[in-house]
Every structure is written in structure tokens, then in C-alpha cells.
Symmetry: C2
Subunit: 580 residues, 2 copies
């Protein structure tokens, strides 16, 4: 295999035209080996093989600097820059992350996992180069729906001001995770249809020079184009058209399902991988039933419909009561606020990590105005996504300290739907609900249907001496801790489900002083700025002893949940050891 | 005056063409009366008089719904919708806010004060209308540089998907607060130069219909245009060209200085309004001196150069070491991260309230990557801006709970510059520094020049029994409190300057236990998720009594600082009363 001879980009430059094509086939074997056994971003990587080879053939990485947007298309780049073992040798799968990572290689400049950041990050590299009098090329690579994100559009708009070498590769595969949304994709189509000649051109309207490459999976065509813009003295867009999932028929035909894929059998890719209850499907079914009764209910997503189970079929069923705004989370929150203001009932869902893009919109567009939109915060948990760029452990400090917001943490399936239903039907508060993330846990208890009497905690079992306030996904740890304390001391502690992340039940906390001397708080997120600290503040100058349990404030990467729980002393046994 | 007959939009519709022009002159008298005596957004309001009259002439507010971007151009709208006394009768100035406000009038739909939100908010109103089968017009009004903000661009991109009535008035006055930045403004110029006929058209590239109105200060021309788009069945941009500050020569010529203006004498507008030391000028002079010695230092702003004193003259002096990214705060943070990654020394400054737009960029683009950019957080204080949309009391919970960030709070001028200088020169941490906001307070103490030994608090005077940990702008309250406690009890307390918002000095806190039984924390911001709660958590299960002082988590509007300090018991006297 040609890949055997490739240990750095310099080796790519030695290949003939035919050898480059063989290299592309070799690369796909490596991608298939890793992706079929380990899972990962399939479509983006398979579609960007040729373009990556051409980039390394023409430019001189790392002196010339590539910045990959989201970086979920960077696997070929990793293969060509000294990390091929992680694709061809199963025992080396763990050597690399799924994203660019400066700790792995001098060819990677940023840890990136959120969309729409590449142009702005690369603008910074270019600006510093210009101040230092450098001459290297700086290349941002963006596509897969990322163009519609506010940060990307800000970056595109600013780039023309650089006035120096700057190359933006627009990887147009006509897809986001699901289908693309937004007017600009109509312009991309018009550009494709006119072979790049259409006068109305988004990139030119942003002040950028423009070049069109019809076949972004043709290495020679790409090489010619890249050679033309190499060492350019001004910002230029190179619009290349690629096929998402290129080279593997199921991925080319079922693009949405193969954007990211679980491990699979390449010979039988549709083999069922089990199933069972999950909150995505259940939330979708609940919302569809609700929509049928009430025309004003709207489910909203930002390019990640899977968060609430909206498959293509279910999207059709919802019709105009389903809105995918594309990658545009800021817009989504403001639009949800507007819908609520005008009498609609919007429910917007995305990952905890992606809500980070909407802090100002939650504060200004939604909460100052007190509009009753519902936000569903998915994978908001140590049990959620484990990549450093997708952590779900920061949303409590981020969301819960914004005034007017009501942030709820259900402890099981039934409580989740009770909270969601209340939130949709009320019109007094902006409400966010954490979607449980520790499996679908059922309870036969009765849960309140009205949460408008804010910040009332629920005593689940009354005891004495120690009170355990166990929030959301960590409620079950609280239950086990209660059992263990009773077992060890003979005295049953009080177990409390606080439900509300955003406030203190002062009356209940005050009452606990009567026959408790110890309060333990448990929260599924970092402690800094979180829920437990508010309880500590409340009891600060009383005799009550307070123990806050949660996670340390740090960025963790590709972790094992058990390790994190243990290092934060978050098991019933370790907590018992601490407090008794 | 014609204005005497105008009590609602219906009265506007009765006027003849000539009377409408007289009304415009009358409105300007009201604007001048309020703005000269009270100060406020001058240029945006003076430029938008005719357009507002034409909008109310053609459309039927509040059934037809106007959403004003930033809403700093809404004064004429307030005058025409029943709130004219607040402009013509000095005793009624206090009746209204400077922004749209649903509590004032049914003609206002949102509290708005940040830029770039109007299109998305209005999309929400339109979507809810469509679900309900309504027929009213929804009109977003955006300009003054707001187009370059990510949320606005996301909104423009999405709007074409509405497929129903939606009107976007682009108020093009060729200005942001300072001059415009970004490639799209070149497109606006091309459109102006071609009378709207230029084929390359940003709005069409976003999938929107487009109409051009060359004179946006000509009421009849506007009325004709608005009549054409009224009841349109699809999203349309109406690009109108107005003169910022129209009708008052100083404001037309000195647009930047008259964007917002202090109270002034209309007959002698340039009369000096005093001066004295301020952090804007001092920071600018410091940075300019630094830049001369070091070509890699870059001052960055997002359309608000006044935050760090960069007047037009000083911008010229800085040359390519000064970057105004336009209204594009997300881009600014990512670009700063890129500059630092490539060896530059970026310093980005904006208001505390506007940093809210950059939570994800601070977390993902900057802090995960650990790049050593410096962020200067201005008006981050209860002493800062007093409008509900511009509060500076939320940045501690927002910024300080992000891992890897070092957030510093100086207690005086000399400490601020020591921290800033260290931050620029180090290359290990992303650093944010609060610009002091309680006046320029000098100290003859010596301050550290190296802050890389993180989270080391400074004991300013050693005492016993009570320790006061007084952060940043509230350090002076801490000093007074220390004196008062000594006076009342005969025992001097310990006074500590914690300096670091982002971490705990565990060793120092542990040592305090020896001869202290009480700790008082003081912070200039809300308590929830803030600094003091971390101290409470630390001491949670010890004997130490902790009292956290700061602000209640709430949106406050047009407040008096003294009132807020008293209601939060934030005076030395009240604190003494509580703790003794």
C-alpha cells in the first residue's frame, strides 16, 4: 500500500498523480477500519479525503497552517501527519482524539469541536503572522452546515479586512448534519448550478475573492485550484463541491444517518444495534401528540434533530410545527422568545455544550423579557459526551445564575415529562429542563404537575441528623447514599429532591436545622458556580455543616465516568467515608 | 405644533404630506429637548425620525409589529405611541427608558438593548402568527452596524425559510458607533452606488427579496416603499439610506461623538464637560506605549473603541496594531485566541454586558486551548451602566466558572496596570481583568508584577477574629468595614485582597481558622455563582462562619447605586449590624 510510505506531508508531495489516487483509496481503508470498529464522524471524513491530500500536496504544513472547522473532517489530515497507526492498528485507536489536537501534533493548531469557529481562529493566526512579517499561508476549512453559525458569518464578514494572505476552503456537500437550512444554501446551489459564475455571490458580497471547484473529490482539479491561491496576497474563498460519505454507498445515500455512526459491520451496515427506550424517541412522540392537540406547539432544533428524536419521517409528521434553524443557536433562542411572546409554545432542544453559544440570548432575548419558551438541555451530565469540546458539566453555572430563568432537574422519566408538560403549558417563565442522561429510569411515585410555586424542594423520605439534597441525575446516588448511611449509623437520613436548580427553598432549609446537623448536596456538574454552593451560602453562618459533591472545575477529555466519579469522591461509599 | 394633535399612530395617518414633514420637525424638537438635557443616543434617533413616521403612517401598530434592533433609535416611535410627554415635558423624562419596553406600551414587544437581535426576535413573532393563522405584518428594523453581529446574520439567513410576510428594514447610515467594519459594508456601498441595482447583493444571497430606497429621510419616498411591501407574502429587505444625526449639524458631521451624547448646550455643543482621569484614556496611552516597544501587541475592540479610549486620532497612531472587528464579539474572542496562538499579544476590551455574547468562544476557542489573550472587562460593576439590558453584575458567574480562565479583580489604578502588564507579557493563561469602575483610585502601596502563582490572596492588614475578603471594586468598602469593626469592637479584623476571582487560596483560608471565627466576603456582582459562594463551600463543614455580601440575582433597571447597595445591605454600617 502507498500509505506505508507516508509518514509526513513531505511524503505526499513525492507521489505521482496516479499514486495520489491510490493513496485516497488507502486512506479510506484506514478510515473504514477505525470508524467501523470505533464509530465516529463518517460522512465528513469520507467526503474530505481528496481535498486533504491535495491540501498537503500543495501547501507546507505546519508552516502553512490549516484550521479545520469542527474538525470532524480531520482524520485524513491525521493519517498524513504521522498519526496513521490510530487508523490502521486497532491497538492504537486510543492514541488520538476525534478532533484536531495541538497536543498530538504540530500540524494541529486548536482543539476544536464546536462548529463555525475556523475562520475567526484562522484570522487570528493570519493577523499575528502579518504583525511578525511572516509569509506563510493560513487556510480555514469550513463546511457541513457550519457556514450558518453566527461566529462563522462574523468571521467571513471580517476576513476581507485582513488585506493579506488568507484562504477559506468552503467544503460544500449540500448537507448539514441533516439537510441544510437557511437562505445562504440557496446561494450555494445557485453557484453550483452556474459553475460558480452566478453574479449574486454571498462570499463576494462579504468582500472576498472567489474561486469555484466543481469536483472537490478530484485530486488533480483541487491541486490546480490550490496552486492558484497559494501565496495569494488577499483573502479568497475556494468553493469546492464534495460528496459527503464519498466512497461508501450507504453513507452517500443515507447522509444524515452516516454523519456520525456507531461501530458497524461494513458488510452488513444496517444490522440492528439493539434499541430500547431513549429520551430522544420518547420526547419526540410526546411532542408530536402535543402538537396534534395544539397548533401553537413548535419543536425547534439547531441542526441536531436527534436531540429530541426528530427523524426525517417524524419531521414530516410535525410539518410546520417543526423548525430546524440550521446551525444557528443564537437565532433559535431569540426566535423561541418571539414565538412565546406572540402566543406560541416553543420547545428548543440542543446539547448542553451547544447552549454555551446562547448565553446572551438566554439572558437578553429570553429572560429579561420573561417569555415562556422551553429549553431542553440534552447530554447535560458527566454521563453525557466525553470529548473535551462537548462536555455537559458546565450548564448549571451558565444557565442557573441568569435571573428569571427557571431551571429544572428531573430525577426520572415520569418527573421529566411532568416538568416538560408544565413548562409548555405555562406562560409565566422561561424554563429550561435537563433531559435525564443516566438511562431511562422509571418511578411509580406521583410527581407534581404544577411547578409554578418556584423553588419548593420535595422531601422524598424524612429522616434526621443528615439531609441529602440530590439533584437530577445524581438523585440515584443520593438514594444509595441514604441507604448506606442508615446501614452504617442506624439512623435514616432525610432525602430531598430539590427539582429547582435556580433557587433555594429557604423555609425547608431553615426547618432542617431542627433535627439535622449535616447537609450533603449532590449535583451532576462542576461545583464552581453551581447548585451546592448556594446551599453552602445559605448555611454559611449557621451551625449546619454542609458538604458539596459534584465535579471539579476542569476540562476533561475522553474520560471514563467511573474514574471521574471516584476522583471526585462521588460514590456513596466515598461520601460516607468523608462525612461520617 | 402638529405634535400636539398626535396621541397615537392613528393621528399620524390623518396628516397631509406637508403636515408629516412638519411633524418630523416637531419630533426633533422633542428629541433635542430630552437629549440635550438628559443625554442619550443622539445620532440613531435623529436619523430615524422620517422612517418612523412613515412606518406608523403605513402600518397599523400594534397589530402590525415593529421590532427595533438595539432599540436606541426608538424615541420617535415612543413619541408617536403615547409617550411624548417624556420628550416635551422635563418632569416626565423619567417616565420612559431609553429602549423599547413592553411595560411602557403595547407598541413595544421586547426589552432590547444589545445589538443584532431584531431579525430573530421578529422571526419568532412571525412564526407564531403563521401558526395561529394571523395576517399582520411583522417588521424588523436593523442598522447602525448591527448587521455584522452573528445573531443578526443567523437571523437574516434563516428569515428566507419563513416563506410568509416578513419585512426587514435595513437602516443604512454607513456608520456603526465608529466607522463600519466588515466586508458586507462594502456591499452596502456597492448597492448605494448602483441605486440598489448591483447584482451581487448580500440580502439576495441570503435568499431574501430586496428593495432599495435611496433617501431614507424622505417621508413620501418611504411611504411609497412601505406601501409596496405591506402585506407581502414573503420575506423582503427594504434597504433605506439615512443620515445619522440628521437635522443637527454637529451630529451629522461628528457622527461617532454624537452616537451617544452627554447632556449639552444646543447653542454651544462643544463646551467642555470637564475631564479628569479615566481608565479609557489611561489604558489607551498605556497600550500605545506598549505597542511602540512591541510590534506583536494588538488592541482589539468590537465597535466600542471608547472602552479603552481609542479615539480616531489614537487609532491612527496604533495603525495595524489596532483592530476594530465591528459588532462581532464572538469573532473577536476567537481571533484573539488565534493571535495569541501565533505569538501575538492581543488585548480585547468591551463592556461586561457584551462579553455575554462570547461565553462559548471564551470556553471553546480560548480556554480549552489555553491561549494567552487578555480580555478587559469594562463597566463590570454595580457602578457601571444602569439599564436593564446593560448591567455589569453578571460577569463573575459567567466568566469565572470557565476552567483555565484567570479572572483578576484589581482594587486600584496601580494594581490594574500591574495586572494588565503581567497579562500581556505572560504566555501561559487566558486572562480577564476587570477594569475598575468606582473612579480612579490611586494607592502608594507596591503591587506584585507577577501573577502566575495563581490564586494567592494578599493580606493587606493582619488582624484577628474577623477576616474581610474584599474583591476588586468593593475593596474600599472592605477598608471602611475594617475600620468600623475596629472602632466598634476594639479588635482590628484581617483585611484581604483576593485579586483572583477564579480560585481559592486554600492555604490562606485554612490558616485563617487559627485566630478567626468569621469571614466576610464582598463582591461587586450577583452572589449566585459568584466568588463568595466558593469561600462558603470551602468552609462549609468547618466552624468558620461565613457571610457573603454582593447583589441579589435579579435584573434591575435605571437604579440608583445607593439604593441597590442599601437594599443588599452593602454598606459598612449595615454589614457591621449583621455580623456583630
Amino acid at each position: 500500500m502507498i500509505i506505508d510510505r507516508i509518514n509526513s506531508p513531505a511524503d505526499v508531495k513525492k507521489l505521482s498523480s496516479d499514486e495520489l489516487n491510490i493513496l485516497a483509496a488507502d486512506v479510506r481503508k484506514g478510515l473504514m477500519n477505525r470508524l467501523s470498529k470505533r464509530g465516529g464522524h463518517f460522512g465528513p471524513n469520507f467526503g474530505f479525503v481528496e481535498a486533504t491530500i491535495a491540501l498537503h500536496y500543495v501547501f507546507n504544513s505546519p508552516e502553512d497552517k490549516f484550521v479545520f472547522d469542527v474538525s470532524h473532517q480531520c482524520y485524513t489530515h491525521k493519517i498524513l501527519t504521522g498519526r496513521k497507526e490510530a487508523f490502521y492498528s486497532d491497538e492504537h485507536f486510543g492514541d488520538i482524539s476525534g478532533y484536531t489536537n495541538p497536543e498530538e501534533s504540530e500540524h494541529d493548531f486548536f482543539n476544536v469541536g464546536h462548529t463555525s469557529t475556523s475562520v475567526s481562529l484562522a484570522c487570528g493566526l493570519a493577523k499575528a503572522r502579518d504583525l511578525k512579517g511572516g509569509k506563510e499561508n493560513v487556510i480555514a476549512i469550513i463546511g457541513d452546515g457550519s457556514l450558518s453559525g453566527g461566529e462563522a458569518l462574523e468571521g467571513l464578514d471580517f476576513a476581507s479586512e485582513l488585506g493579506s494572505n488568507f484562504i477559506i476552503i468552503v467544503n460544500d456537500n449540500d448537507m448539514s448534519i441533516a439537510e441544510n437550512h437557511g437562505g445562504l444554501y440557496k446561494n450555494l446551489k445557485a453557484l453550483r448550478d452556474s459553475n460558480g459564475k452566478c453574479e449574486c455571490n454571498l462570499f463576494k458580497a462579504m468582500g472576498l475573492d472567489y474561486m469555484y471547484v466543481p469536483d472537490g473529490n478530484d485530486i488533480q482539479m483541487l491541486i490546480e485550484a490550490f496552486k492558484k491561491v497559494k501565496d495569494t496576497d488577499h483573502p479568497t474563498v475556494v468553493h469546492i463541491c464534495t460528496v459527503k460519505g464519498k466512497g461508501y454507498t450507504p453513507a452517500e445515500t443515507e447522509k444524515e444517518n452516516w454523519h456520525w455512526h456507531m461501530p458497524f459491520d461494513p458488510e452488513d451496515p444496517n444490522a440492528s444495534i439493539g434499541g430500547g427506550e431513549n429520551y430522544g424517541d420518547m420526547t419526540c412522540d410526546y411532542l408530536l401528540a402535543k402538537m396534534k392537540k395544539d397548533k401553537s406547539v413548535v419543536a425547534m432544533v439547531a441542526a441536531v434533530p436527534v436531540n429530541i428524536g426528530f427523524t426525517e419521517e417524524k419531521r414530516k409528521e410535525a410539518g410546520d410545527q417543526y423548525v430546524d434553524v440550521g446551525i444557528a443557536e443564537e437565532h433559535a433562542i431569540a426566535m423561541a422568545s418571539g414565538i412565546a411572546k406572540n402566543g406560541g409554545k416553543p420547545v428548543f432542544a440542543t446539547h448542553s455544550s451547544f447552549f454555551q453559544r446562547t448565553y446572551d440570548q438566554i439572558s437578553q432575548d429570553l429572560c429579561i423579557n420573561g417569555n415562556s419558551a422551553t429549553l431542553l438541555v440534552n447530554t447535560a451530565s458527566v454521563y453525557g459526551m466525553h470529548d473535551i469540546t462537548h462536555l455537559g458539566i458546565f450548564d448549571i453555572p451558565m444557565i442557573s445564575n441568569i435571573p428569571n430563568m427557571v431551571y429544572l432537574a428531573p430525577t426520572c422519566c415520569e418527573e421529566y415529562f411532568a416538568m416538560l408538560d408544565w413548562s409548555i403549558e405555562q406562560n409565566s417563565f422561561p424554563v429550561a429542563v435537563r433531559i435525564p442522561c443516566n438511562g431511562v429510569i422509571h418511578s411509580d411515585k406521583t410527581f407534581d404537575t404544577d411547578y409554578s410555586d418556584l423553588n419548593k424542594y420535595k422531601v422524598m423520605s424524612e429522616g434526621e441528623k443528615t439531609a441529602i439534597i440530590a439533584l437530577g441525575d445524581f438523585y440515584q446516588i443520593g438514594e444509595k447514599l441514604a441507604d448506606l448511611i442508615k446501614e452504617k449509623t442506624g439512623t435514616a437520613p432525610t432525602l430531598i429532591n430539590p427539582r429547582y436548580i435556580t433557587g433555594i427553598d429557604a423555609e425547608l432549609l431553615e426547618n432542617l436545622k431542627k433535627n439535622h446537623d449535616k447537609v450533603v448536596t449532590l449535583e451532576d456538574g462542576i461545583l464552581d458556580g453551581g447548585f451546592g454552593e448556594k446551599i453552602s451560602r445559605f448555611y454559611g453562618h449557621s451551625e449546619m455543616k454542609v458538604y458539596n459533591y459534584g465535579l471539579k472545575k476542569e476540562f476533561i477529555d475522553r474520560y471514563k465516568v467511573e474514574d471521574i466519579l471516584i476522583s471526585n469522591r462521588l460514590t456513596p461509599e466515598l461520601i460516607c467515608e468523608d462525612i461520617l
